[in-house]
């Protein structure tokens, strides 16, 4: 609309729409910011309540009850937690979960960082390589773990075959038959699957770092390691912390990989909290005890998330 009375020539001024004074009740209602905020948040709140809060509270209730499949059970306070703590299989699974998470995260971080640094360079076919790198992350875990299980198969392992044919071994390596080796195999598979997530996220972080900073550091005589340690790493730290925390949460609660690769065997040497909780809750029907074992993960993951949030808040405040 062209300017009304009193406007300077050539200047366009927006005037209230003639219909604005005749707002419908719905529009008037939506003009209320508080109400609109509530309405927009409602779907998320409902989803979080139904799919996160309710199952979580239900899990807490189950863990404090003697519920088994088909039997509501009664309140038993912390009996399930005490029983779990006195259970040697639980303690093995608890230790395994920490071991598995620690080493898998270290390897994923180290290799992911290395891959991200490589992919941050310019070379022919860069895009294809970047896309291909994501494959382990894209393929369904169950499917890829089955493939790994075949590769580690005690009788038909292709890895053993290659090592044997090349003269590096004289007897088959017991990849999944030896408890310690089976755990390292699981860590290898987890690293293979999770590394692309680290690499692609760290790569995104690397690309936000101005090349000028590296150039300036080079001019000051910094070598590659110094450039990484004093320029790249400090700027990449916030992204790294977030990725590590996400990875810890996922790895600590891992289920599919172990379930398919070893089923927790041999002799419980690869059982994790999630697989043991499933074994008790589903195969034995002891839902209360299974929930208690799952909830042992909660304090650990809570601390991890708390540290992350604290760190992010500190960064925001800086």
């Amino acid at each position: 609309m062209t300017g009304g009375s009193g406007s300077a020539t050539g200047v366009t001024v927006a005037l209230p729409h003639p219909g604005a004074s005749r707002q419908t009740p719905l529009v008037r209602l939506l003009e209320n910011e508080r109400l609109l905020a509530g309405l927009l948040l409602a779907p998320t709140v409902v989803l979080l309540t139904v799919f996160i809060a309710y199952p979580f509270l239900m899990g807490i209730w189950l863990s404090l009850s003697s519920t088994s499949v088909g039997n509501p059970g009664k309140f038993v306070a912390f009996q399930n937690f005490v029983k779990a703590w006195n259970d040697s299989i639980f303690r093995t699974a608890f230790g395994n979960t920490f071991f598995y998470t620690f080493w898998a995260t270290i390897f994923k971080l180290a290799l992911g960082m290395w891959l991200a640094l490589l992919l941050n360079r310019h070379f022919r076919g860069k895009r294809i390589v970047r896309a291909t790198m994501l494959l382990p992350f894209i393929i369904p875990t169950v499917l890829s773990t089955f493939a790994w299980r075949w590769m580690f198969d005690p009788t038909f392992s292709v890895v053993n075959w290659v090592l044997y044919q090349s003269g590096l071994i004289v007897t088959k390596l017991p990849f999944l038959s030896n408890g310690d080796l089976a755990m390292w195999c699981a860590i290898v598979v987890n690293t293979w699957r999770g590394m692309p997530f680290f690499a692609i996220t760290l790569l995104a972080g690397l690309q936000t770092i101005s090349p000028d900073l590296h150039e300036a550091a080079s001019l000051d005589g910094a070598n590659a390691w110094h450039r990484f340690w004093h320029v790249t790493w400090p700027l990449l730290k916030p992204v790294t912390v977030v990725v590590v925390v996400f990875s810890i949460i996922q790895t600590f609660a891992d289920f599919q990989l172990i379930y398919v690769l070893t089923g927790g065997g041999p002799a419980n040497s690869t059982h994790l909290l999630a697989t043991y909780a499933y074994q008790l809750g589903v195969n034995s029907g002891l839902l209360g005890e299974g929930a208690a074992i799952s909830l042992f993960m909660f304090p650990v993951l809570f601390i991890v998330v708390w540290v992350q949030l604290r760190y992010i808040r500190r960064l925001e405040g800086a």
Binding site: K83, N178, T262, Q279, L280, G285
Partner: protein
């Protein structure tokens, strides 16, 4: 459903509304004398139009058995019962999660395939099927002994026994002969000598001690029992695992493992031994009949080192060798359970009665060729047994001696917990991995006490 079809469904007079129809149909069914009446009258009961029945079973290791059920028996049952009966087959390991989810949510399949002693685990969520079970048992010479402690709860049949997958040791006849064994060893000590000689020739015994629902426990429990070991005393309340028999069995297994077995077996699942056997990597293995049946059905592909079809060189030993206390197998007993939440409980019962009618069960039974045997003893006399290959005939009476875990006590939910925690399997696994036999038994005792004596 056409209510006046030739199947003999109760006719619906013109002008009758749905309520009247259902009332009439209900009276007619009751008048016919329930399931027995229906079977005797050879008439399909009347169900509300479009009524459906959903059955979930495992993927059979004999695929032809599933084909028989899916493509022939389900359509026939649908026609006979006047309702839509569907069969869904899933991985055996996935049945328990499905049952758990179904019970907790109060919805899901009407009938589930039950394994081992699951009726003990899900008793409160299953329908009492004593009427059908007793009728079938009476008509067919009674169920095998294993079903009473596993499928009966408080004297009621909470699952309908269906069939038993027998285990037998599949072995290479010629290879055993080469080391001087003209027949399968009768005792564990003989077996140790034979398979030690075979392992030296690169033909070990194949056995899993991994976390598998079939081959590992069906080996470990019988080994324990054959040396006189038992989880509990007869009351089932006192753990009795720490005995001389158990310690001896672990010591034996340690030696047998090292001298005779493919030591990769600690990581095998239920299919590894089949593949290893067919590839000529092992000389013998405890398994269902599938090693032989698959070798025969794929005779052009599965050949021995001379290029001959391998199945010709395979024979079965019906039981694992005897220990000092005897021979006691743990077979894979199965059945069906009707879920309490089902809105089609009567239809489900009628379906199970239909499934167990001689002419229907017989078709499925024959397709299995001995891989699965019936739950009742009368089927031992079936002419099929004289027609099938000799190696499969061992399954004819094999189910007579089978025990169930929990022995020497009752097979309760507690014994299922011990079973699903793989305590007995892991006791042997720990032993063969280097733990002292006494310590492995003590570990198992500690774990079992937390279950049985808590």
């Amino acid at each position: 459903m056409d209510s006046s079809d030739t199947n003999g469904t109760t006719p619906t007079p013109k002008g009758m509304d749905r309520r009247d129809f259902l009332k009439t149909a209900g009276v007619a069914a009751a008048a016919a004398g329930g399931i027995e009446g229906i079977l005797a009258a050879r008439r399909a009961p009347a169900y509300a139009q479009g009524q459906k029945l959903h059955l979930v079973r495992w993927n059979d290791f004999i695929p032809e058995a599933d084909v028989e059920l899916k493509t022939k028996q389900m359509p026939e049952a649908s026609k006979a019962l006047g309702a839509e009966v569907t069969l869904e087959t899933i991985n055996a390991n996935d049945i328990q999660p499905r049952i758990t989810a179904a019970i907790q949510s109060g919805s899901g399949a009407d009938i589930f395939h039950l394994q081992y002693n699951w009726p003990q685990l899900y008793a409160t969520s299953l329908v009492d099927v004593s009427d059908i079970a007793n009728a079938v048992a009476k008509a067919e010479g009674g169920f095998y002994d294993v079903y009473k402690p596993s499928f009966q709860v408080g004297g009621k049949w909470m699952g309908m026994p269906h069939s038993i997958v027998g285990n037998a040791v599949a072995y290479r006849k010629s290879w055993l002969k080469e080391v001087g064994a003209s027949q399968y060893p009768k005792t564990w000590e003989e077996a140790r000598k034979v398979f030690a000689a075979l392992k030296k020739k690169g033909r070990p015994y194949g056995q899993t001690l991994g976390h598998t629902f079939g081959d590992a426990p069906t080996f470990a429990y019988p080994l324990l029992w054959s040396f006189g070991g038992a989880e509990t005393d007869p009351s089932g309340k006192k753990v009795a695992i720490n005995s001389k028999g158990t310690v001896d069995s672990v010591k034996f297994m340690q030696a047998f493992w090292k001298e005779c077995c493919d030591e990769g077996g600690l990581a095998w699942d239920d299919t590894n031994n089949n593949r290893a056997f067919h590839a000529g990597e092992i000389s013998a293995s405890l398994n269902g009949a599938s090693i032989y049946i698959v070798a025969k059905r794929q005779k052009d592909k599965i050949k021995d080192e001379k290029g001959e079809p391998m199945f010709q060189d395979i024979d079965h030993a019906g039981l694992l060798p005897a220990g000092p206390a005897g021979q006691f197998p743990l077979y894979f007993s199965t059945g069906h359970g009707i879920m309490k939440y089902s809105k089609s409980q009567k239809l489900a019962k009628d379906f199970l009665a239909w499934l167990h009618k001689k002419e229907n069960f017989e078709k499925w039974f024959q397709v299995c060729e001995g891989y699965s045997v019936a739950s009742t003893t009368a089927w031992e006399k079936h002419p099929m047994w004289d027609k099938i290959d000799k190696p499969l005939q061992v399954f004819r009476t094999a189910a007579r001696k089978t025990r169930i875990f929990g022995h020497a006590g009752p097979s309760t939910a507690k014994s299922t917990e011990a079973f699903s925690k793989y305590i007995i399997v892991d006791m042997y696994a720990k032993g063969v991995q280097g733990m002292k036999a006494e310590d492995a038994v003590k570990w198992a005792e500690g774990e079992l006490k937390k279950i049985y004596e808590a």
